[in-house]
């Protein structure tokens, strides 16, 4: 049996004097596509950066790609591809030169670049265009193309839908699906749940630097508003919200875990499935 892609046990990460993660427990199996959601400042990006070995593990245990992040951080990084908030591109280099540089830096074969650019719709004449002249959406596509070309074992995507048009989002969806089908693990931090949930088989809710919900088959928090967290049952694969209920944040001290039926049964005020029912309850 293969080791999980990511295992975090009570992980605390302190940057300066501020704990950006305050005791995260998470286990992600290889080949899973997991969406991490939560309000601004919840710790979504920090969770991804910690998994990438870019934030310290101050307390707890963290293993990524089979490497202990406290001792084998460099080993883990070789298996990780991170799509951050901003595409890491040099404005004065062309798209092609940027990707060749990043591929060579990562000791990867640049031969896959044309295929990756073509798949994301930024091939052809755009290859010889300076990155600084591209639109935000095109830059985003180039950054995703780098991940496609590099094909890491673990993909960490931070708000991947940002700046992408409808076609770009569709290409992103296909890319994530193909990566997962090829055995890669994908962790997506996103506010745009309807888009992200279509890609994922599991949703993890994070708030205040801790995991507050973990819907294995798709029951999870679906939004936040003024001190309340909206939990709902979401149909896996389509992102359709089947049932939802608002819970006060105070009720969410303990992580919510389990199947849809268990969440619906155990929720304090009782979630109910929608009329069409689908695969819930």
């Amino acid at each position: 049996m293969s080791t999980p892609a990511i295992v975090l046990k009570s992980v605390v990460s302190i940057v300066g004097q501020f704990p950006v993660l305050a005791g995260v427990d998470l286990r992600v199996e290889r080949g899973e596509v997991v969406v991490v959601e939560g309000p601004n400042g919840a710790g979504k990006s920090s969770l991804l950066r910690l998994c990438a070995g870019l934030l310290p593990v101050s307390r707890g245990e963290a293993q990524v790609a089979g490497y202990d992040l406290q001792e084998g951080r460099d080993g883990a990084r070789k298996h990780i591809g991170l799509l951050g908030h901003s595409p890491a591109l040099y404005d004065d280099l062309t798209v092609w030169e940027n990707l060749v540089f990043h591929m060579k830096a990562a000791r990867a074969d640049p031969a896959r670049i044309p295929m990756a650019l073509e798949r994301l719709g930024v091939g052809g004449r755009l290859e010889s265009t300076r990155a600084g002249l591209l639109s935000a959406g095109q830059r985003r596509r180039v950054a995703i193309a780098f991940l496609v070309a590099r094909h890491p074992e673990i993909w960490l995507l931070d708000e991947p839908h940002a700046s992408l048009d409808a076609e770009g989002r569709e290409m992103l969806g296909e890319t994530v699906a193909q990566a997962a089908a090829a055995g890669s693990t994908v962790l997506i931090a996103s506010h745009e749940l309807e888009e992200a949930l279509v890609l994922a088989s599991r949703v993890v809710s994070i708030s205040g630097g801790v995991v507050v919900g973990d819907g294995v088959t798709a029951a999870s928090r679906i939004g936040s508003r003024a001190g309340t967290a909206r939990f709902g049952a979401v149909a896996a694969g389509t992102g359709q919200i089947l049932a939802e209920h608002s819970l006060h944040q105070d009720l969410l001290q303990a992580p919510v875990q389990g199947t849809d039926q268990e969440i619906l049964r155990d929720s304090p005020q009782g979630l109910r499935p929608s009329e069409d029912g689908c695969n819930v309850a």
């Binding site: 990084r77 991170l82 040099y90 540089f101 990562a106 000791r107």
Partner: protein, 222 residues
């Protein structure tokens, strides 16, 4: 390490050749210093030729800060630092690549300033070897020290003002030794240049070793 050195240096030089930021600003600045000094010291060539060695190294010193700031501003775009770390680029190779690119830019500038001194001031070089060797050693030393301090202040809010405060005092041995070696090169007394060239070599070796050893831990602290 050599592979990463060439990769980073190639990238920086390619960007510079395309953007021409350093060429378009550093070179005019250095030539302007020569012209303004000529105005300040008057039409008599003797004081100009006497002051030329110090003037040369002052122009190179200030241009080094410009080149270093430009070099690290290339890496300041959000996400680039993370991508370098994730790619597993050898920190020593990254340091050496930056050093090599900055060194090439400075050396090109030194050729230009030297030509300016010969043409504008009418200076005669009696021992070109001293000028060449001191130029190479001084350039390597300044580029190495500049890269270390550039990396140290990059990401800080006050980096533009902090870099001169940190870098100029430590670069003073290059200014002194380089000026002496240049004076000897212009006068043609080759035997007297060894100690000064030795000092330039020791400075360069010290900062290259420090950069190779310390660059990784410095980046980890960010």
């Amino acid at each position: 390490m050599l592979r990463d050195t060439l990769l980073v240096a190639g990238k920086d030089l390619r960007i510079e050749l395309r953007s021409r930021v350093v060429i378009n600003q550093m070179a005019p600045f250095a030539l302007l210093v020569l012209v303004l000094f000529a105005f300040a010291l008057g039409p008599d060539r003797n004081p100009l030729i006497t002051a030329a060695p110090g003037l040369f190294w002052m122009a190179v010193l200030f241009s080094t800060m410009f080149a270093v700031q430009r070099s690290f501003s290339l890496e300041s775009a959000e996400g680039l630092h993370d991508s370098m770390v994730l790619a597993g680029i050898d920190p020593a190779g990254f340091f050496a690549g930056k050093l090599l690119a900055i060194g090439c830019e400075l050396f090109a500038l030194e050729v230009l300033v030297t030509s300016g001194i010969i043409v504008l001031y009418g200076a005669h070089v009696k021992s070109p070897a001293e000028l060449l060797v001191s130029g190479i050693l001084g350039t390597v030393g300044l580029a190495a020290a500049g890269t270390i301090y550039g990396a140290l202040v990059s990401g800080m809010r006050l980096r533009e003002t902090l870099l001169p405060l940190l870098f100029l005092p430590v670069a003073s041995p290059v200014l002194i030794a380089g000026t002496r070696a240049w004076q000897i090169g212009l006068q043609g007394n080759s035997s007297a240049s060894s100690p000064w060239l030795g000092l330039l070599g020791a400075f360069a070796a010290l900062y290259i070793c420090a950069g190779i050893v310390l660059y990784g831990p410095m980046e980890d602290m960010k």
